[in-house]
């Protein structure tokens, strides 16, 4: 389970645990990775549940154009028999489900709900996160899905989210919440049940944050999936050559406008490639993880076909030429 730095992992890690939590700071693509991981597992034939917990139900958009809701729905069926279903989980909903589970109904339930989760949560640190993770634990136990992919809350919330069970174990006396915390902790810290997939970009600040996140996740005793570096420019060594030399070598005569244009784009590209190489080196030096590079696709708005390209990249598979639509038809 400790891959060496340079190993390119095969795609078996995706289903090595029952739950994969994708985590990264804002803007690096943790939601995208969640969707891509779910798709890749479905292509392997798995029944996948894609769960969004940060209250931004945008995840579903990539599949069928509409956001995820608290009601589970089908997002994708693969010819292999695999499928992706999706739902969002909010703390309020998890709280309600928790009360159901404890058989709290009628007047008491209304009263408790009136007390408002905000007020209750204020006196119990990490309660909201713990309720959500408790809900995920119930879903894992229900065994309807082979794999649950969870898009962790962004930014400053990732570590508190993952740490909520540990925090509660320190603060809370024996009782139902403690039992809940123990069960969540057992799920999170078992490598067969949970892995955290850290995603980053080949840039300075995201790399720093990935290194910090990795340390936090390890300190909590959770296992880490291969590191995913999103938004990588394809390696194009030719960008480092002076434009005129490249043209001469290719036997092409450039007009001065053509030369100016190429100088502008190649200079920018070469600088970004240098930055990327430098940041990948830093990741190598700092993190003992296998690493998967996802390409920067030349679009600011990902579509279904982009998702397929990224899923192939995640699986290390050559890109397939036929493309399936989310409903299973072939184009």
């Amino acid at each position: 389970m400790t891959p060496t730095t340079d190993s390119v992992p095969d795609d078996s890690w995706i289903q090595a645990s029952r739950v994969v939590v994708t985590a990264g700071k804002g803007g690096v693509g943790s939601s995208t990775l969640a969707a891509v991981t779910a798709l890749a597992a479905a292509q392997q034939g798995a029944k996948v549940l894609l769960a969004s917990v940060d209250g931004k139900p945008n995840l579903g958009r990539l599949f069928d154009g509409s956001p995820l809701t608290s009601r589970q729905r089908d997002l994708y069926s693969d010819p292999s028999g695999g499928q992706v279903r999706g739902q969002s989980i909010s703390p309020e909903q998890a709280f309600g489900d928790y009360l159901d589970l404890r058989g709290v109904g009628g007047l008491m339930r209304r009263v408790v709900k009136a007390a408002s989760l905000d007020v209750v949560a204020a006196s119990t640190p990490g309660l909201e996160h713990l309720l959500v993770l408790g809900k995920i634990k119930e879903l894992e136990r229900a065994d309807d899905a082979d794999l649950i992919v969870v898009d962790a809350p962004p930014a400053g919330h990732v570590t508190p989210f993952l740490a909520s069970a540990t925090t509660a174990l320190e603060a809370v006396a024996p009782g139902p919440l403690r039992t809940q915390a123990e069960e969540v902790h057992a799920m999170l810290s078992d490598p067969q049940r949970t892995q955290v997939a850290i995603v980053t970009l080949p840039e300075e600040t995201p790399v720093n944050e990935a290194i910090e996140l990795h340390a936090d996740v390890c300190a909590l005793g959770l296992s880490v999936a291969p590191l995913v570096v999103n938004g990588c420019w394809p390696e194009q060594p030719g960008l480092h050559q002076p434009v005129t030399a490249a043209a001469r070598e290719a036997g092409v005569t450039l007009t001065s406008r053509q030369r100016t244009a190429l100088v502008a784009s190649s200079r920018f590209g070469a600088a970004r490639l240098d930055l990327q190489a430098h940041q990948l080196d830093r990741l190598d030096a700092a993190l003992p993880l296998a690493r998967i590079l996802l390409p920067r696709l030349p679009t600011p708005r990902l579509t279904w076909s982009d998702l397929e390209v990224l899923a192939s990249a995640l699986r290390g598979a050559p890109q397939s030429s036929s493309q399936h639509q989310p409903d299973g038809t072939t184009t």
């Binding site: 006396a173 030719g238 920018f268």
Partner: protein, 369 residues
């Protein structure tokens, strides 16, 4: 929103504002933009303080923010000759909360600060960090040592959290459960209020009886403070809507970021907050056109690499500009104020020195294309 001649350029915006708030989705450059705006203000002769939140390490180093006293305004040196001054500080939410308690709780302050439940509440109350950013701003505003305050906002689950934080805090202290809990007789409160019974029941069942006791103690020890807190929240809420306050929406050209930015724009407009500028950061540069028949170029040659990259960069840059055009259209059609639009390109390197920060400042003040 009619009296004030609206700013048409970023320079005017900086000149006419007493408070600038940068907000937007995560990782798009809010902190960087806040620092660059501070620089513009100082260049224009104003006494500026920038309240940053969790700046990238290299930026904090470049600004020379000392680790120990990061929460106090610190003068930035090495910017060359400027008419004004630039101070920065790093928000420490817990210390700000402590200060607030000290300021508002009088004799009880000591007891509150030592209550174990206080510590967890300071960190876990939803919106506490957002609220504290605004609270710190209020403190600086009252102190009056600066004539331009630039506030960075924390990356939140929803960027709108920052706007609703004062109201949420006020409603927390105004919540019926909370009010009965801190009522004159705790014993009475427990039996008479079903809401309180529900609360006590829930917390007891969830977390155990000790937490209930601690919580009730904490709530009663801060009783008497909440009026002050609520008034403060109301004052801050008003300050955010002042004529000389400017919200600057920062986004990247990625679809997810733009969707969130549009959401935030709506919240700003609906809430009557003065939305004065939108900054599109991290935009890929658009290279001049280059038409060469690819058939003439051998696959795998250096020139082939260069042409392919030129094509990809162009496609990306064009698509990003199209996304941004939608953003501009929507903002134009919903705005109540005049909005300055700026585009800041993704630089070839990270922003970690004062000269790259100056580059961003220049891009902000460049006349719109």
């Amino acid at each position: 929103m009619t009296a004030d001649p609206a700013a048409a350029t970023f320079a005017e915006l900086v000149d006419t504002s007493a408070l600038v708030v940068t907000c937007g989705p995560g990782g798009v450059g809010k902190t960087t933009t806040a620092a660059a705006i501070g620089l513009l203000g100082a260049r224009a002769g104003r006494r500026v303080v920038v309240v940053t939140i969790d700046p990238a390490r290299r930026l904090a180093d470049a600004l020379g923010i000392p680790a120990e006293t990061a929460d106090d305004p610190h003068r930035v040196r090495g910017l060359g000759r400027m008419k004004g001054t630039l101070d920065v500080l790093m928000l420490d939410a817990e210390r700000t909360f402590d200060r607030l308690i000290l300021d508002k709780a009088g004799k009880q302050a000591e007891g509150i600060l030592n209550n174990p439940i206080y510590r967890s509440i300071a960190g876990s109350l939803s919106g506490a960090q957002e609220y504290m950013a605004i609270e710190r701003l209020h403190q600086l505003h009252e102190a009056g040592e600066h004539d331009l305050i630039v506030v960075d906002t924390p990356p939140s689950r929803h960027a709108v959290d920052i706007l609703t934080a004062p109201d949420r805090l006020a409603s927390f202290f105004g919540h019926p459960v909370y009010r009965t809990l801190v009522g004159p007789s705790r014993a009475m409160a427990r039996v008479t209020s079903t809401a309180t019974a529900g609360f006590a029941w829930a917390v007891k069942r969830l977390a155990g009886p000790q937490i209930v006791e601690d919580t009730l103690d904490f709530f009663s020890s801060i009783s008497g403070m909440e009026d002050g807190l609520r008034k403060r929240a109301a004052a801050v809420s008003k300050l955010l809507r002042n004529q000389d306050t400017s919200f600057v929406l920062v986004t990247s050209p990625r679809a997810e970021a733009i969707d969130e930015a549009l959401h935030l724009n709506e919240a700003l407009q609906d809430g009557g907050y003065p939305m004065r500028a939108a900054v599109a950061n991290l935009v890929h540069p658009l290279p001049p056109a280059c038409t060469i028949d690819p058939a003439l170029v051998r696959a795998g040659s250096a020139l082939d690499d260069q042409l392919r990259h030129h094509g990809e960069l162009t496609a990306l840059a064009v698509a990003e500009r199209a996304e941004l055009a939608t953003l501009v259209d929507v903002i134009e059609s919903t705005k109540h104020d005049d909005v300055v639009f700026c585009q800041v390109e993704l630089l070839a390197q990270d922003v970690h020195a004062l000269d790259t920060l100056a580059q961003i400042a220049d891009a902000l003040s460049a006349p719109a294309a």
